[in-house]
Each structure stands twice: as structure tokens, then as C-alpha cells.
């Protein structure tokens, strides 16, 4: 089935309220939002945010995220170390949840956004429906990666006992939180309509 595209008819859907506007109008008639056929410089911005996130994700996994001391002895743990600790303690469910939120979801996000960028740059017509569905999936699951940041914040504000023990956040969790924020921004700056654009439309547009 051949589906008509709004751009071919000189129409733009408002990104704030969804109203169909005539492209020449400049701003949405209903809400005043400036109209843009595609998110400006979407591919360049998304690449920049994705690479920055990838760069921060390395120290986030190498550096400790939390320091705990009890009865005079202290130890630091990394994200993966925390997963392993839960696993050894017999809390397999929790180990799996943290592994999915902190390792699997970010990795899948890096791969999916990278794939979307490369295939859109090539104006590929491969699996357009599935690529759009993948985009919606990472939009939906991305923020669950903040789980570890919230756990560290909760544990560190609670475990503040004299003599018995204390817990303190370490810089790894800051890198991790920033990496998650950047992957979310990367997903937001990508324009899924680029998946559907034909090469001719791209040349006339902003690319």
C-alpha cells in the first residue's frame, strides 16, 4: 500500500500539538510552535550525543560507583561488581534487573541508535517498519537505566551509621548518570521520519 507523506503535499505536523499545518505558514496556527519539516541537524546532533554518551559510559563501568565501610574496613564496588554481589548473595532476580537496566539497556540503545543513524544516512529502505518500532522501543525503555543512580542515592543517604557503617557515592555513578542522560537526549534528537525519507527528499531538505 502506498502511503502519502505530508512533506510531498507541503504539510507539516506540529511537534507540540500535532496539528497539520501548511509548511509555508512558518509557525503552528494553533499553538505558535515554529514549524520544521524535520528536526534540525538531527543526524549530526544525534551522532555527537551518542559518541559523548559512549565516551562517558567507559569510566562509568570502570570506576567505582559506591564506597561502603563497616567496622573499619571499606570497599568500593563498580556497576558490574554490584550485579555479581547480588548474584552471589542469591538475589538472582535483583541481579538480573540491575544487569538489564544498567548494562543491557544502554548497550542495546547504543547499537540501535547507531544502526538508525547509519541506515538513515544511507537512505536505506530496509526494514523501515521494524526500525521505527525499535526507535519507539528505546524511547520507551531508555529511562529505566537511571535505576542504579537512584539505588546509590537511596543507599548512601540511608547507610549513615556511626561505628556500624556508612556508604558514599563514588564518581563512577556520576559518569553513569550523565551517560544515561546523553543517550536519552540522543534518542530525542533523532528524527524517526528520516527513516522514511527517500533520497530525493533528503537532498532538498536539511539532511
Amino acid at each position: 500500500m502506498k502511503v502519502a507523506r505530508a512533506r510531498d503535499f507541503g504539510l507539516i505536523g506540529c511537534r507540540t500539538c500535532g496539528l497539520a499545518n501548511v509548511a509555508a505558514a512558518g509557525s503552528c496556527r494553533r499553538c505558535g510552535t515554529p514549524l520544521a519539516a524535520r528536526k534540525p541537524a538531527s543526524i549530526g546532533r544525534t551522532w555527537a550525543l551518542l559518541l559523548a554518551a559512549l565516551l562517558l559510559y567507559i569510566p562509568a563501568n570502570v570506576l567505582p560507583v559506591m564506597y561502603t565501610s563497616s567496622l573499619g574496613t571499606g570497599s568500593s564496588s563498580t556497576i558490574l561488581g554490584g550485579v555479581v554481589d547480588f548474584w552471589h548473595a542469591g538475589s538472582w532476580g535483583i541481579a538480573l534487573v540491575i544487569f538489564v537496566a544498567s548494562v543491557a539497556v544502554p548497550t542495546v540503545k547504543f547499537l540501535v541508535i547507531g544502526t538508525l543513524l547509519v541506515s538513515s544516512q544511507r537512505c536505506s529502505s530496509w526494514a523501515r517498519l521494524q526500525r521505527t518500532q525499535l526507535y519507539r522501543a528505546i524511547e520507551f525503555i531508555g529511562y529505566w537505566s537511571m535505576l542504579d543512580v537512584i539505588v546509590v542515592a537511596l543507599v548512601c543517604s540511608l547507610v549513615q551509621f556511626q561505628f556500624i557503617g556508612t556508604a558514599e557515592p563514588r564518581v563512577g555513578i556520576v559518569f553513569f548518570g550523565l551517560a544515561v542522560v546523553l543517550t536519552m537526549l540522543a534518542a530525542m534528537s533523532f528524527d524517526p521520519r528520516l527513516i522514511w525519507d527517500a533520497p530525493a527528499a533528503r537532498r532538498m531538505g536539511e539532511g
Partner: protein, 199 residues
């Protein structure tokens, strides 16, 4: 100039003629399967009641301790705001900002702005500053993380109960209720509100 009678998919730019939808009917994009619209009226009165309930639960969730710990006669508890404030004061300000924004500022703004917009929608009117309110709601929507907090509380309870005794209380249950209510109100499709009145 607008083009009335047309619906455009936000994900793939597909163009459709607008159709009237029956209640509970869902319109999906033929090329990318995104949801284009839902039938039925938005019940502003019911949604407002849920929003007010969310506001009350939000106050409880933030005023009472999320978790209380006890060890050898010492008790420690933390409310969400205490946790955020402690981080902002210390060397962990970046974490304090992330947690404070996603778990306090954004949910609070969502509840307040929705209540504002819905209170007028119930009277079939557009609220003053309707457009900026809707724009802010759309902008902050991805950063609302109350449901992640709920999972985080569960993980923290499991982690801590290995070596300390963990006491849950009103604050813990308030987070469960808040997660449900925020899901009901803020994750809902409020597109129908745009149909109210003129500009």
C-alpha cells in the same frame, strides 16, 4: 494557515484524512503502526480527580521516610528530599540534581500543570497560559521517573536487608500509589485537550 481534516503521523510523516473514531477505537498508522488517535471523550473531571489524588500522595511520599533502617538500636531514615538535599550539599551535587529533577521537580510540575489545565478543561475552557503549560508538560514527560524510583526502592530494600533491618512505612506505600496515579494521569494521551476552544 492550517490544513484541517488532515492527520500526520509524528513518526513517519504519513498523511491521512481525519476520521471520526468510535469510543475506545484506536487509529494506527498504516506504515509504521504508531497510534494516531483514540476515540472517545477525555473525561476531564475524572482525570482531575486522579490528578488531585496524585498531588496528595505526592506530599505523603515526600514527607514521610521512604525506608527506615535500624541497626543495634540506631535508627536512620531518609525522605526523598532529605536524600536529595544531602547530595546537593556534599560532593555529589550532580547526582543530587539528577535525582531531584527526575523524582521531585518533574513529577511535581506534571501534577501542578495537569491540574491547572484540567480544572479549566472541565469547564470546557482553555486555561490561561494553556499553550506554555502543554509545551512544558510535553518537554518534561520523558524525565519523569517515579516508576524507576519504585523499582529502586525495592532493590535498595533487598540490598540493605541482607545486613540491616529494613522498616517500610507510609512513604514506601505512597510511592507505590504515586507510581500508579502518575501512570494513569501523565502517561495518558492528552491530545484531546488541544481541541478545546480557539486560540
Amino acid at each position: 494557515m492550517s490544513a484541517p481534516g488532515w492527520v500526520i503521523c509524528q513518526y513517519c510523516d504519513a498523511l491521512y484524512r481525519a476520521r471520526a473514531l468510535a469510543p475506545a477505537q484506536l487509529a494506527r498508522c498504516a506504515s509504521c503502526r504508531a497510534v494516531l488517535g483514540r476515540g472517545g471523550r477525555l473525561d476531564a473531571g475524572r482525570l482531575l480527580a486522579l490528578t488531585v489524588a496524585a498531588g496528595i500522595v505526592f506530599v505523603i511520599a515526600n514527607a514521610s521516610p521512604v525506608i527506615t533502617l535500624s541497626a543495634h538500636g540506631q535508627f536512620n531514615h531518609a525522605t526523598l528530599l532529605q536524600a536529595v538535599a544531602a547530595m546537593l550539599r556534599g560532593s555529589d551535587a550532580a547526582i543530587g540534581v539528577m535525582v531531584g529533577v527526575t523524582l521531585f521537580v518533574v513529577p511535581l510540575l506534571q501534577i501542578a500543570l495537569l491540574a491547572w489545565v484540567l480544572a479549566f478543561a472541565r469547564l470546557r475552557r482553555r486555561a490561561p497560559a494553556f499553550v506554555p503549560a502543554m509545551r512544558v508538560l510535553q518537554l518534561i514527560h520523558p524525565w519523569s521517573m517515579t516508576e524507576v524510583l519504585l523499582l529502586g526502592v525495592l532493590v535498595a530494600i533487598v540490598k540493605l536487608s541482607a545486613s540491616l533491618s529494613v522498616i517500610t512505612g507510609a512513604g514506601t506505600y505512597a510511592i507505590v500509589a504515586l507510581t500508579l496515579l502518575i501512570t494513569l494521569i501523565a502517561k495518558r494521551d492528552t491530545a484531546a485537550l488541544w481541541e478545546l476552544g480557539g486560540r
